[in-house]
Symmetry: C2
Subunit: 441 residues, 2 copies
Amino acid sequence: MKIEPRTLPGFMELLPNEQILFEQMKEKIEKTYQKFGFLPLDTPILELSEILLAKAGGETEKQIYRFQKGETDIAMRFDLTVPLAKYVAKNYGNLSFPFRRYQIGKVYRGEKAQKGRFREFYQCDIDIIGDGELDLINDAEIPSVIYNIIKEIGFDDFTICINNRKILNGLFESINQEKNSVEIMRIIDKIQKIGEEKVKEELEELGVEENAITKIIEFIKIDGTNDEKLQALQNLNIENETFKLGVEELTEVVKYIKIFGVPEKNLQIDLSIARGLDYYTGTVYETFLNDYREIGSVCSGGRYENLAEYYTDKKLPGVGISIGLTRLFYKLNELSLMKVEKYSMADILIIPMLEDLSKPIELASKLREKGINTEIYLNNKKAKAKFKYADKLKIPYVIALGEDEINSAKLKVKKMETGEETTVNFDVDEIITCIKNIQVK
Amino acid sequence: MKIEPRTLPGFMELLPNEQILFEQMKEKIEKTYQKFGFLPLDTPILELSEILLAKAGGETEKQIYRFQKGETDIAMRFDLTVPLAKYVAKNYGNLSFPFRRYQIGKVYRGEKAQKGRFREFYQCDIDIIGDGELDLINDAEIPSVIYNIIKEIGFDDFTICINNRKILNGLFESINQEKNSVEIMRIIDKIQKIGEEKVKEELEELGVEENAITKIIEFIKIDGTNDEKLQALQNLNIENETFKLGVEELTEVVKYIKIFGVPEKNLQIDLSIARGLDYYTGTVYETFLNDYREIGSVCSGGRYENLAEYYTDKKLPGVGISIGLTRLFYKLNELSLMKVEKYSMADILIIPMLEDLSKPIELASKLREKGINTEIYLNNKKAKAKFKYADKLKIPYVIALGEDEINSAKLKVKKMETGEETTVNFDVDEIITCIKNIQVK
């Protein structure tokens, strides 16, 4: 009796050609994080439930993978932020602040299974954590990281949306709606989805007075360039310190983002962004691919007051972002935006066409020594089977080595994409030069 | 009330400087696997228990992390071989054979907690899977991968030990001890640890006859160069087909390993290696760092008849190895063999010494564009705090940028290791040339 080989629903498992694409995307993100000097971190996937659930509640508790092993109540991490908080609190004395770390790893959420929803997925996070304080300008560096990553992944037409939670909070204070602020933000957050009238209705239902609703709508409808929006915020003449501080911070951050090299067209103040309920306290970000808004934000985050309050008395403010890589990859793949370029990690395949494999093996070793990823076909099949393998794997270049090639000390480098063959001497350097020449053409 | 920030026992969590070392080692292994044309694979950490435990038993069942989520009986993978078997059986029609894959990922075993034993650890595996058959020469390619990796990691004095299970099996057949073969192999396997006399004793206890014990011991004591050992095996004149086939295979594999470029001194036939009980059927490997034999084998594996018999009728023979990266890293670190070279991913730190950060930020962006990992210190602290940060992170080069530097358009590149300062023009290319010149010196 055989067991049917199957993978759990909600768990991504790719074929090799897709896996190569996935790895390339992951590497681009990682290299960009490193380019900005972020340090690598790798925390366990399992933690004490007590640690992971210190703050959690609601959906998180329901979705978490949690179990008992011996005496220990264990859970699988559902994000990379809580493990970071634990890590910084635990290793406070051994870290240099600001602590700039990236982490790319799998996280787990037992969500309802549905297409495009994953229970195991990669998050790619960066955070900058200050010891006691963290200058506002750090909020301006983050969008330049986002900008570089999205460009690297291959998109030009995208928008990094930015807002500051203090502006929203101050607005609510000024109209005496602090107590409703969480609920109002939740409603505002939906304006793109449900429209202005429905937002007004829901605010009324919440018991917000009409002139306060007018103020809120007036605020949401602020439009124009970033500079115009900042001017319009000033013009609202809202006499509230939090509001003013928020506008000041946003103005400063937007100014610096420009200096960080993010073009005007890729940055937009979006006053409707609130991002979650109670975590972020200042700058917030979302990022959209303009031709594919339906994907939702591909990179989000913001500024928080205190990273690790559940584990330490130290005040640790920070700013960070997260990319949900698995979902992003899935969506781009679904939209056929991921161009499969490689079916193999090898640059060259050597196909021996003779009994004695010494020469082919030696050639493969020499090519590898020169940094060329080289595979050698090691099975004694018919020539047809060998070339079929080369075709399927789409290895860019193939060299078939038989008695003739060895006796004449000449061989043919075949470019698989075009079928083009170039004859060169049996010499590693000449082969490499030949490949480079073909590539340049 | 704060929750004490702590990590589960048996779970490795590194400080940034160690994490950088770990990542470097992981990358060296991955790049070498790719250099030989192995394809990446990433399977879920969670699988159906039914899948993971199809073959398991004994220790594996006891150690596995297993739990119920809703209706589903789920377990965490305890190696990368079982998931590979499932994957190949599941995707058989979409793969090209021989299927050459690498996988680097975390696996989980709830072992008794003790120093140097990990419950979460990285395995770095390669396997070559044939469809129906797989030529013996593939067994000879594997040691050249091992050789390249151990060299990359920084060791010259190491031994790849090789044996063939058919030799042992045939020996036991020839002395009518097949029924005890598993048990005898277990005893032989310990000869390095417990010595010849104890091995004899245990064999006697098992009920092996004296002349059979003599034959076994005669066999184990075969010594000399690889060629001498192969000759001695012939000279035993054991009339058994399995034995003869084993000697033939080993002779062939050793011959080809040489052609694959593994030096004589790094390869040793070791007839006592059995490697586990019932999985491997032909060539087996273990790898030892000669000055640190106490670490045990750092890279092991072998040839198996059938990868996925629990999931498919297809016969899928293969050969592979596994590196237990977490344990290897831990041991090398404990022996102080891991030289911390980097405390940061950045090559340069720019320290602004003025109010307006425009020029420092622009310089950082330009350096990054040219491929230099560049961090900029963004917090408005006293000069002393800024330089302390640079010292602690040991970023190789530091540029302090103040009014003077900007007005004179000249700046100093400081090499942190030596304190050496070089004055150059305020120009990205000149800065990069300067760094490269210092590196060459």
